[in-house]
């Protein structure tokens, strides 16, 4: 501990993930005294192992629902039930440690969908108060600071960019070759995947050695460009970043003037500590940030902090997109190297002629480790146990290719994060209650894209192609977006265009919760660009004495 809890530091950052890591680095490097409170542990690269069981089946790097249960219901009329619904990286580095590493920018139209496409019945489609052009310098900054590999100019649907990717693309894989073959036959425009993985050494970190354990795993080489690998060391080196792992915040306190004064958290021994701060930045993710705000009730904010108009937790948006697989004659070996080497944005924009709203990006990947493949990766109609099951799993695993869609999840007011009335976590705090049911157009989009995915694999010459039916389950998500949405009007949003909470001068929220739309998923680049922009704004405001 560098700073005493009674010492009001300049900034308290809650969450050390994709956004919190950016905040930690930017604010401490700008000369501020920063405390960062992170729920999870602080791993070293050497802690990251290739064990599918402990990592993907037993929440090795993510929130453990046995100690932090969720409850779920489709609508508020239903009684909620205990079941896993949200998943996030619970460690220093957060989701940037264990994400697949796809690193797309949102398109210019993603920030103005309402203006371009008009209203969508049953959804609250809105323009962002920020444009792509305003965010572009911060996308560039994120790509340069973190280390992103890709081929600039290869995606004809991308917005303009001020700088090329700092690193060349990763080598193409067989899944990417087949995807590209099929897509080009259909007149589409596949391009090398932009990924947060180093194709060459960069800023003291080694290049990827293609072990194949990106998605869901941490990188033992530091070649994945997580905030843990790329930013946290520099933040710590300033001597002004007091990063405290295993520190679980339960409440933000406010003073009589309505300004936040600090946060109460449980340390590793479950002792309650109150850390004072002059300003707070919430980067706890799209589920934990609204939960913390709702838990932070006070006389001034009886419905929770920054919730004067009841918007906190609303417009929850989840991950969406189906997986289509295909069996090839020769080895694909998709278990090697980065998950994705080719992407396609031809179906990204919405098209009113389809009769529904939405679109998606497609990428080339099989998306399975071996044990999970054995349990649910075989084509329909194959045996699920016995000698023939074992043989089919063994024969198919190296020969399967695939394509995964990343598609629209429309913002719907009734989809939300709230506090459960009955269920508590192991610290005695109310469980996260998820209320979620897709807008009907989300499902139509996924089905539409699945047909395009099948066409691409078939055009590539893959004879046996199938939709992985489990992949259309949209009631569990690793993308947590939209619960503290950004907007100019305090009546209908939680943060302003600078990610500052409406009505709470010294509180900022910079994570997936401020996203106004889901675009076409893969939100990490946008979350980090917003974090860089917010950090710059906060720094200038603090220097002007405005906080």
């Amino acid at each position: 501990m560098i700073y005493q809890p009674s010492d009001p530091v300049d900034f308290l950052v809650v969450g050390a993930g994709a956004a919190g890591g950016v905040m930690a680095k930017e604010l401490s490097a700008a000369g501020f005294r920063v405390v960062v409170l992170e729920q999870g542990p602080w791993h070293k690269a050497a802690d990251f192992i290739h064990d599918e069981i402990s990592v993907t089946f037993r929440n090795g790097l993510t929130n453990d629902h046995r100690v932090q249960p969720n409850t779920f219901r489709a609508t508020s009329e239903e009684k909620s039930k205990v079941r896993p619904a949200v998943e996030y990286g619970r460690m220093v580095g957060g989701g940037s440690v264990h994400f697949t590493a796809n690193y797309w920018r949102f398109h210019p139209d993603d920030f103005r969908e309402r203006s371009v496409f008009g209203p969508v019945e049953g959804a609250d489609l809105r323009d962002w108060p920020v444009t792509y052009d305003e965010l572009e310098p911060y996308y560039t900054k994120a790509e340069q600071e973190l280390g992103i590999s890709g081929q600039s100019g290869s995606n004809p649907f991308d917005g303009p960019r001020s700088k090329p990717y700092p690193l060349p693309p990763m080598p193409v894989k067989s899944s990417g070759v087949l995807f590209e073959r099929g897509a080009r036959k259909l007149g589409l425009h596949p391009f090398p995947a932009p990924v947060a993985v180093l194709s060459q050494p960069y800023r003291g970190r080694a290049a990827c050695t293609h072990c194949g354990f990106c998605e869901s795993f941490g990188c033992e080489m530091n070649a994945k460009s997580s905030t843990l690998a790329a930013l946290i060391p520099a933040a710590v080196k300033t001597g002004r970043c007091d990063l405290r792992p295993q520190s679980y915040v339960r409440k933000i306190e406010v003073g009589k003037d309505g300004r936040v004064t600090g946060a109460i958290y449980f340390d590793q021994q479950r002792r309650e500590i109150f850390q004072r701060a002059k300003a707070i930045v919430l980067c706890a993710n799209g589920a934990e940030t609204p939960r913390l705000l709702l838990q932070s009730k006070s006389n001034l904010f009886p419905h929770g902090l920054a919730n004067a108009h009841g918007n906190v937790g609303k417009y929850l948006m989840f991950d969406a997109g189906g997986l289509v697989l295909g069996l090839c004659d020769h080895p694909v070996n998709d278990y090697k190297s980065v998950a994705v080497s080719r992407v396609l944005h031809d179906f990204y924009a919405a098209d009113p002629k389809r009769g529904f709203y939405g679109g998606g990006g497609l990428d080339a990947r099989m998306d399975y480790y071996l044990a999970r493949f054995a349990l649910s990766g075989l084509p329909p109609g194959e045996p699920s146990w016995g000698a023939e099951w074992k043989n089919k799993v063994s024969q198919y695993y190296t020969h399967v290719t695939g394509t995964l869609a990343h598609s629209t999840c429309l913002a719907v007011e009734t989809n939300s994060i709230s506090l459960d009335d009955e269920i508590k976590d192991a610290w005695g705090l109310p469980a996260i209650r998820v209320t979620f049911r897709n807008h009907p157009d989300d499902i139509k989009t996924m089905k539409f894209l699945a047909e395009r995915q099948k066409e691409i694999l078939s055009a590539a010459g893959v004879k046996r192609v199938w939709l992985d039916s489990d992949s259309l389950d949209t009631t569990y998500s690793r993308h947590l977006m939209g619960t503290c949405r950004m907007g100019d009007d305090p009546q209908s949003s939680v943060v302003d265009r600078w990610n500052r909470a409406h009505g709470v001068l010294n509180l900022f929220i910079a994570d997936g919760s401020s996203l106004v739309t889901s675009a076409r998923q893969q939100p990490t680049a946008t979350i980090q660009a917003l974090a860089y922009r917010t950090a710059e704004h906060i720094t200038e405001a603090a220097r002007r004495g405005e906080l």
């Binding site: 037993r58 070759v177 072990c211 044990a371 146990w385 000698a387 099951w389 063994s394 024969q395 695993y397």
Partner: protein, 167 residues
């Protein structure tokens, strides 16, 4: 493509050690399952994932894996196992009185019995645990699937890489 048994032995010292351990009939150390329960779980998981040209559930020490899981991470599933095993015993007794041991049934009887429980939560958990013990272990499932066990790779990764960019 399945590889031969001979290739297996040559390929894996680790596996041969396990085989030796198994051949020596050392009683496994059990934390929560009784020896009788362990015998039944062994027979059930061998039926789910039998030894063929490649090793099966038993060689991957699936019983020890399940026992350790039920004593640790999956301790809340122990009751499901107890009830599931009792149900299997009752079904076995009906199928082949007076025996109540699944392990004593013929292969055809075992298959027939498993078909009657394959939609149950117990079978689902048993199958999941068996898949984890075998396919979650690169020494077994990985080899069975022809997955290269190296920690790092260089391109080309698969057959189609060489085609590169297709016009």
């Amino acid at each position: 493509m399945p590889i031969s048994r001979r290739e297996w032995v040559l390929a894996s010292l680790c596996w041969s050690e396990l085989l030796n351990a198994q051949a020596s009939r050392r009683a496994p150390h059990l934390a929560v399952l009784s020896p009788a329960q362990a015998d039944e779980v062994r027979a059930l998981t061998n039926a789910i994932l039998p030894e063929t040209e490649t090793p099966g559930a038993e060689q991957a020490r699936t019983v020890e894996f399940i026992d350790a899981a039920l004593a640790g991470y999956d301790h809340d599933q122990l009751e499901l196992y107890r009830k599931g095993l009792a149900d299997v015993a009752a079904r076995t007794r009906r199928m082949s009185p007076p025996s109540a041991r699944f392990a004593d049934l013929s292969a055809a009887q075992q298959t027939a019995l498993l078909k009657t429980i394959e939609k149950t939560d117990f079978f689902d958990k048993l199958r999941t645990h068996t898949a984890l013990a075998y396919f979650g272990n690169l020494e077994f499932g990985g080899k069975s699937a022809g997955r290269d066990s190296a920690m790092h790779f260089q391109p080309p990764f698969g057959f189609y890489d060489a085609e590169g960019k297709v016009e």
